[in-house]
Amino acid sequence: MSECGDHCITCSDEGVAMEVERVDVRRGLALCLAPDGSKSTVEIALVEPVAPGDRVLVHAGVALTELSA
């Protein structure tokens, strides 16, 4: 998975491992922290429930799976 480097954002097979910081359950969104320190709002409908501290694989603004330890 990418660490937000020179990856192609269009590719179906690129994702970024992010850490959940805050969850908005009502809107189905979470504020997530990327490895490069940037934060973004992520759709979490496919991985709910998640909690702060959980790590998810994000592609094109959507968390696709929770990362196992």
């Binding site: 192609c8 269009t10 179906s12 097979d13």
Partner: protein, 371 residues
């Protein structure tokens, strides 16, 4: 960094390379296809191929969604973008893909309102911010991106955003693999299976490859050790006479995929009877369109789209590259008329395209020296 550093450990890489060397039969040539453009990118970025014995060859597959978009589809996008009052949104790399009369980037320079987005949700936000304009999202990608588009369309429908629509060019991974396996000019010994597509569809849909075509497949992650380990696992299958689907990327990929993602895709999309792939031609049931329930969000139904098929440029050999028949540097225009700055073929556009990966990581100069 967790999940990254431990998969780039040079010492472990050397150990795996030694194991691979010990696992190959002398005199036998092995040809493995990495299906996904992400793997191609990693292989050249980290020099994974330099660690492999000379008789293990990696063939680059069709798994870069930018690279497989045909010119006619780009022309359709430009035609939509040039309609009055339209804001056309797409991922960055798509803007540089050449159509028959230029790219989306050139259309933008000519005055069309074309904007790069990182997610379909960004396109939806632009629609909400510009209620007097029609906002179209050019959706491309395999099953990893399709759920993102599907969720956005569900959200647009639920929130009643009337000025948002989608030009759907999503594709699915299994039909082109089947087409490649049926191709008489391609002989492979095994597959490195796509990692993040499998996050959504799981590893199970690839079981037909060992079952019907007798080729092992190992779903792999994108770090260098992931790829080396997957090659080691394929070689072990061949040495032990096994032929099955294995999952090297268990830390991310559940064997049965993400059920919720598959459900939302089934609700929003349906299969097209045929879809054209650059270099591979028309493949049955390989593309997605919006289902009737989402017809009002379908840009191809809301607007007039030319839908004209355009042949690829004669000099371009992206088709042979995508099928793994030739290496990028064997294309007549590679590195001369076709460069990342002025691409002729789509494989030179995306950073995950095989040609761009070769070019950007210095393969061009090296291969020329060898020749």
């Amino acid at each position: 960094m967790k999940y990254v550093d431990e998969f780039r450990d040079p010492e472990l890489g050397r150990i795996l390379a030694t194991e691979i060397l010990g696992a190959v039969e002398p005199g036998r040539h092995y040809k493995f296809m990495e299906v996904c453009g992400g793997h191609t990118h990693s292989i050249y970025k980290y020099g994974v191929d330099d660690l492999l014995p000379a008789n293990v060859e990696l063939v680059h597959g069709p798994g870069c969604p930018v690279c497989v978009i045909p010119m006619g589809r780009v022309d359709d996008g430009i035609a939509l973008a040039k309609q009055g009052g339209v804001i056309f949104t797409c991922f960055g790399d798509m803007m540089r893909v050449p159509g028959s009369e230029g790219s989306l980037l050139e259309a933008k320079a000519d005055g069309a309102d074309i904007r790069m987005v990182y997610s379909p949700l960004d396109a939806l936000r632009i629609a909400k911010q510009n209620p007097e304009r029609e906002v179209i999202f050019f959706a491309i990608g395999f099953e990893t991106t399709a759920p993102s588009t599907a969720l956005t369309l569900k959200r647009a429908k639920a929130e009643g955003v009337p000025n948002f629509s989608c030009m759907c060019s999503h594709v699915t991974i299994v039909p082109p693999l089947r087409a490649l396996l049926d191709s008489p000019d391609l002989r492979l010994d095994g597959f490195i299976g796509p990692g993040h597509v499998s996050t959504v569809v799981g590893a199970r849909p690839f079981e037909f490859i060992p079952a019907h075509y007798g080729k092992p497949l190992v779903v792999a992650g994108f770090e260098p050790l992931d790829i080396l380990q997957a090659i080691r696992m394929i070689l072990a299958q061949l040495a032990e006479g096994r032929c099955e689907v294995e999952n090297q990327y268990k830390r991310v990929v559940p064997y049965d995929g993400n059920r919720r993602a598959l459900e939302v895709m089934a609700e929003v999309f349906e299969l097209r009877p045929h879809f054209e792939w650059r270099g591979l031609g028309f493949i049955s049931q390989s593309g997605l369109k919006l289902s009737d329930a989402y017809a009002e969000l379908d840009a191809e139904r809301r607007f007039s789209v030319p839908g004209v098929r355009v042949a690829d440029p004669k000099a371009c050999q992206c088709g042979e590259v995508l099928k793994g028949v030739i290496k990028p540097w064997e294309c007549k225009v590679f590195g001369t008329a076709c460069t990342p700055e002025r691409p002729i073929g789509t494989c030179m556009v995306s950073s995950e395209g095989a040609c761009a990966a070769y070019y950007n990581f210095g393969r061009f100069a090296r291969e020329r020296e060898v020749v």
